[in-house]
Symmetry: C2
Subunit: 378 residues, 2 copies
């Protein structure tokens, strides 16, 4: 661990906690429901009545006494404000153009550092589904205590199957941290594995899924960013210094387009792990990144006496011997007859028909449509 | 045979020929493409560029020197005129309300009889697909020669499989009629059989499908109608007498609603067969009544290198490992991934997703929607 503002565990560490919600990512595998103009985080994909970003805010805000910063695309400004009317203007960070996660999360860290170098940030993507909320919050409290001891703390998701779609976190020895009984050192982050490797990870018991959640002192984040991406660090610091001043617009417009694009994993997490600065709290809550329409089926169980999950206000679905998922984003009548495990997503300008087994391949369709110039529906 | 205006075969029998096209029937199994406001006969279901009613007219008009009468619903007046601009006003018979085939075809017979009692009518439904046209026309010529000898002549379709969806015609001895070498007597009409019975019919070689096509002297049609449905006959004759006068509207509005509803099979064809007045010409052309979406697949073969049949102007379909039929009546992008033998019919207010094997069950969906009050899309 690196000694950046370490202190003993205590209630006051929570006063230094600030929630950050990076809200990017279209959710291509959820096309045509999710798309550039209406990305995944703006949808209620669980039938809970809340969009994913609203649910993310509601999980996080009680931990930070409503101090929450959102980083999103300029295009989504009004939609995000409609979802989170309580967000203060200076805490809504709008990207003129996407610059990948290191710039997005790094800018949040730099702005917060500028306001108060002792802040501990907790970054949680806007498009994940987590229950129960109380277990999540208890996990984050442990992470905050651990971060206060000078760690970048990730939350490791207990793997339920040998997924080849996620990166993994290899845990090391337990850490002895007051208020964080389940904290472990992190040996390394590993990229998405082959299925055989993933099976080995599950057997070993030392690996958990990397859901991109972390809690860390902003000063420690920036220290590693400076070491690994000095150009990015310099640009972000320049923007951050201007952020709460009248120069914000000028500096952002000038500097942001010049920033290198890279992932926070390469810019901070992996080198920090190699330096022994990363800890992990196991997340024993239920977690889903709603990666495809099969997930929608899991998260919205079919009504009793039916094998068909129907999502959408005012959906008009008639089914006979049909099972699967229907997402209705229109008022059209949808009739399904004699078709199993089907996935139907009905939107005003695009229709997807596939099966649960092929849900991951939706991304390919989107790539094809992009290549063929059918960008009006993407 | 009954002696109604018999005469020897000769070119002049064709001068007495009048085509009649009953254009009724929504084509429920083709919902949501076919529906009350846009029934089957108004669609181009073969990708030929012609609607079914236009193709029916084009097959028939050369035989009758353009003397063609169309019987359809009042609702379809302008659509039918748009398809058949050459139809004369007095030959477009509009039903205020549907009264089944005996009234529709009987009215055509009565109006034509009023104009000239020696007319031979040939009635062919507006929603069947027949190729090649020349073989059809040669068959009808034989039927006209046979009708001129005092027969109601049906055209029997050679059965290609033991269908339980059609009625059958049992042929008797060959008739010796000049100009009609393949004419046979008809023993009886039989209703839709069980599959076992249908197999027996196919084995016997004496049965053909009843496609509801017939050619007959109007006087003979009316004679049997008078015997079997005197009330219907009286009403139709009253309308027919007023048809080409200024009283048409008054009489139609008064009499039509009072007419009994029955099928031409019961009112004329079956009793006429029992009386020995029915003959049959085998139709050796290819015939399809486009009974469901599986037929659309047969009639619109998939493009080479593809197992997916796509119908619809400007359809925007992306497919990956998909086979079946897509009927696109919108400009929406339709993406199909990993789904086989699917049937997708995409219209502005209703979407059908089923499989070829379940194509016949579409009717059930329509009945359900009717029962549940979703009549806006029917």
């Amino acid at each position: 661990m690196t000694n950046v503002n370490p202190e003993s565990a205590g209630a006051d560490v929570f006063d230094r906690f600030y929630g950050v919600i990076p809200a990017g990512g279209v959710g291509t595998r959820l096309w045509p429901l999710s798309r550039a103009a209406a990305p995944k985080f703006l949808h209620d994909l669980t039938g809970s009545g809340s969009t994913l970003i609203r649910a993310t805010y509601d999980r996080l805000a009680p931990l930070s006494d409503d101090r929450v910063m959102v980083v999103t695309g300029l295009l989504h400004r009004s939609a995000v404000l409609a979802q989170l009317p309580e967000i203060q203007q200076e805490n809504l960070v709008l990207e003129n153009e996407p610059k990948d996660s290191a710039a997005a999360i790094g800018l949040a860290a730099a702005i917060l550092y500028q306001r108060d170098p002792s802040i501990i940030m907790g970054s949680f993507a806007a498009d994940q589904v987590i229950t129960p909320v109380e277990v999540f919050q208890e996990t984050v409290r442990e992470a905050i205590h651990t971060a206060a001891q000078g760690y970048i703390v990730t939350i490791g998701i207990h793997p339920t199957h040998p997924s080849t779609g996620f990166g993994y976190i290899k845990a090391g020895e337990p850490l002895e941290i007051e208020g964080a009984p389940s904290a472990h050192a992190v040996v390394e982050f590993v990229e998405k594995p082959s299925e055989d490797t993933a099976r080995g990870y599950l057997r070993s018991g030392n690996y958990s899924w990397n859901a991109g959640m972390f809690v860390a002192p902003v000063a420690l984040m920036l220290k590693h960013l400076l070491e690994n991406e000095p150009e990015l660090h310099a640009g972000l610091m320049e923007i951050a210094e201007a952020w709460d001043t009248e120069n914000r617009r000028e500096v952002v417009l000038r500097v942001w387009p010049t920033l290198p694009k890279t992932a926070i994993d390469y810019a901070v997490a992996e080198p920090a792990a190699a330096a022994g600065d990363v800890a992990m709290i196991p997340g024993i809550f239920s977690w889903d990144d709603v990666g495809d329409f099969a997930a929608i089926g899991r998260l919205n169980p079919a009504a009793e006496n039916s094998e068909l999950t129907v999502m959408g206000d005012g959906a008009r679905v008639y089914s006979e011997d049909a099972s699967g998922i229907v997402v209705s984003d229109t008022k059209r009548v949808i009739a399904l007859i004699g078709i199993e495990d089907v996935v139907i997503v009905d939107t005003p300008d695009a229709l997807l028909v596939t099966t649960k087994d092929h849900a991951q391949e939706v991304k390919k369709a989107v790539e094809h449509l992009k290549a063929s110039g059918d960008t009006d529906v993407l």
